[in-house]
Amino acid sequence: MKKAQVQTLETIGVLIFFFVLLGLGMVFYYRFQAQSLSVEEREQQSLMAIRISQQISSLPELECSKYSGSSEFACIDIIKLEIAKTLIKNNPSYYSDIFFFSNIVIQQVYPSGPDILLYREVPKEYKNYQEEDIPQIKIPVPVELYDPSTETSNYGILRIAVYT
């Protein structure tokens, strides 16, 4: 009987050792998976940032008149911009489909002028954070800022920050 008990204990010992090794293997595997998922997540967020920048650059709500002599792409009509600010604020569910969680600012660079905040929507978990503490992907896009009333253009940068 004692010999049988020893043999059974031996088998149990082998099984425990096997499961410990298996457990260690799974821990390493899932850590590797988590790392690869986080890289993929970052890539997807970059893609989203690119998507938003493409959409804004050709947004009918902002783009310049085709008769203005300016390029239709990456040209912002500043009168429309001022109106679009309020329109976007009043239709958050519609425009959140286009802009997601992001901060979009138009900065007039030359001649220098005030920054115009077009859109800002912060994820819930970062509501009480300072802007610089929120993880984000930034994409600056040079744009022409066209004033149709004076038919003049200024140089600006469209600053898109997608919250991650």
């Binding site: 059974t8 088998t11 993929e40 998507r51 050709s58 009168i79 109106i83 329109l87 519609y94 149709p148």
Partner: protein, 359 residues
């Protein structure tokens, strides 16, 4: 002693079997969970990539893009839900749906290919409010059928000239072979027959029926413009059979040539109506901006007092129309078309009088 040993061995083997089954079960469970996770992950990744590709394709207007995507089944749906008939539009890969709230996409209901053709075309009435995206597959053919009238010829020619050359287009003219019935089946998955300015007869003559095409993949639409510039009219959808055409639902209205192409690339009337409603939502928002822009221009204009008076008068006229267009409750395309034409005429006058333009 021998009996004891025999029993002992049997218990040992039972114990080993149970342990073995548990380990095997654990591995099978892990593999199945991994497979589900992998499929979900792949679907989400492809959906996100496809979304980015579609946004990119839509950005540049009037361009055709040949897209390579992973070989996967993509479903497109657009429906009007609830009492208020709110558009609900998604595309899904596997079990992962992605809602498309603002993009207007006309496409086959299901795509299972690695190659797509994405063509974008702006909806301008009279100013651009949206870039529609039309998705076609290589195994798709568009057949334009003309009858003996100037309007039919103009419409067919306009559609033929505007559609990208790379698309598979066949033009059937009256009394010029081949007729519709001569067209051979090319194993296409989609055959769209467009009747320019006439409805196909309920009992058509044999030469007016695509008898060699597979009815499972054939559908027909008739486009009947009611304006001289072909930009306004009605569209009717039909189901094409080997012997005739069965109308599907009532006539739908259109305004702006982009909606003609929307009907061509819509698998069924509800898809067309759903996307039309999405487009109208955006139309009202953009019109609101132009309405307020006109007010701003009126206030900021400077220069010769006579010129200012003329310009302001024109801005007032435009504003009355723009206010209608910005009204979300006004969705009659006939009225929208008429107001848009008025604004176009006003814009011409603004240009002649060197006033700052509205659009």
């Amino acid at each position: 002693m021998m009996k004891k040993a025999a029993i002992e061995i049997q218990f040992h083997w039972i114990f080993v079997s149970i342990a073995g089954i548990m380990i095997l079960g654990l591995f099978i469970f892990l593999v199945m969970r991994q497979q589900i996770t992998y499929e979900s992950r792949t679907s989400i990744s492809i959906a996100s990539d496809l979304r980015t590709i579609l946004v990119g394709a839509q950005t540049a207007t009037r361009t055709l893009n040949d897209l390579d995507i992973p070989q996967t089944k993509v479903k497109f749906e657009c429906d009007l839900v609830g009492e208020q008939k709110i558009p609900y539009s998604i595309f899904s890969i596997g079990n992962h749906p992605e809602e498309i709230k603002s993009q207007v996409i006309f496409s086959p209901p299901e795509i299972d290919t690695s190659k797509l053709r994405a063509w974008s075309y702006d909806w301008s009435l009279p100013y651009k409010t949206n870039n529609f995206l039309f998705i076609a597959i290589p195994q798709e053919r568009i057949i334009l059928v003309e009858k003996s009238s100037q309007k039919s010829k103009s419409l067919c020619q306009m559609i033929n000239k505007t559609l990208p050359e790379k698309l598979n287009i066949r033009y059937v003219q009256p009394n010029v072979p081949p007729s519709l019935t001569d067209l051979q089946d090319q194993n296409n998955q989609i055959e769209t027959i467009i009747f320019c300015d006439f409805d196909p007869a309920i009992n058509p003559s044999p030469s007016d029926v695509p008898s060699k095409l597979n009815p499972k993949y054939s559908r027909a639409i008739s486009i009947k413009p009611t304006s001289d510039d072909l930009e306004k009219g009605t569209i009717r959808f039909f189901k094409a059979t080997k012997t005739g055409y069965i109308p599907v639902e009532d006539e739908k209205s259109y305004a702006g040539s982009a909606l003609i192409f929307g009907a061509i690339f819509s698998p069924e009337p509800i898809f067309f109506e759903c996307n039309k409603k999405k487009a109208l939502t955006r139309y009202h928002l953009v019109s609101d901006i132009y309405w307020k822009k006109t007010e701003a221009l009126k206030g900021s204009i400077s220069g010769d007092p006579n010129q200012i008076a003329d310009c302001r008068d024109l801005y007032d006229q435009a504003n009355r129309k723009l206010k209608n267009l910005a009204d979300k409750s006004k969705n009659d395309l006939n009225e929208i078309y008429l107001d848009a034409k008025s604004i176009e005429a006003i814009s011409d006058q603004l240009q002649r009088k060197s006033c700052p333009l509205i659009y």
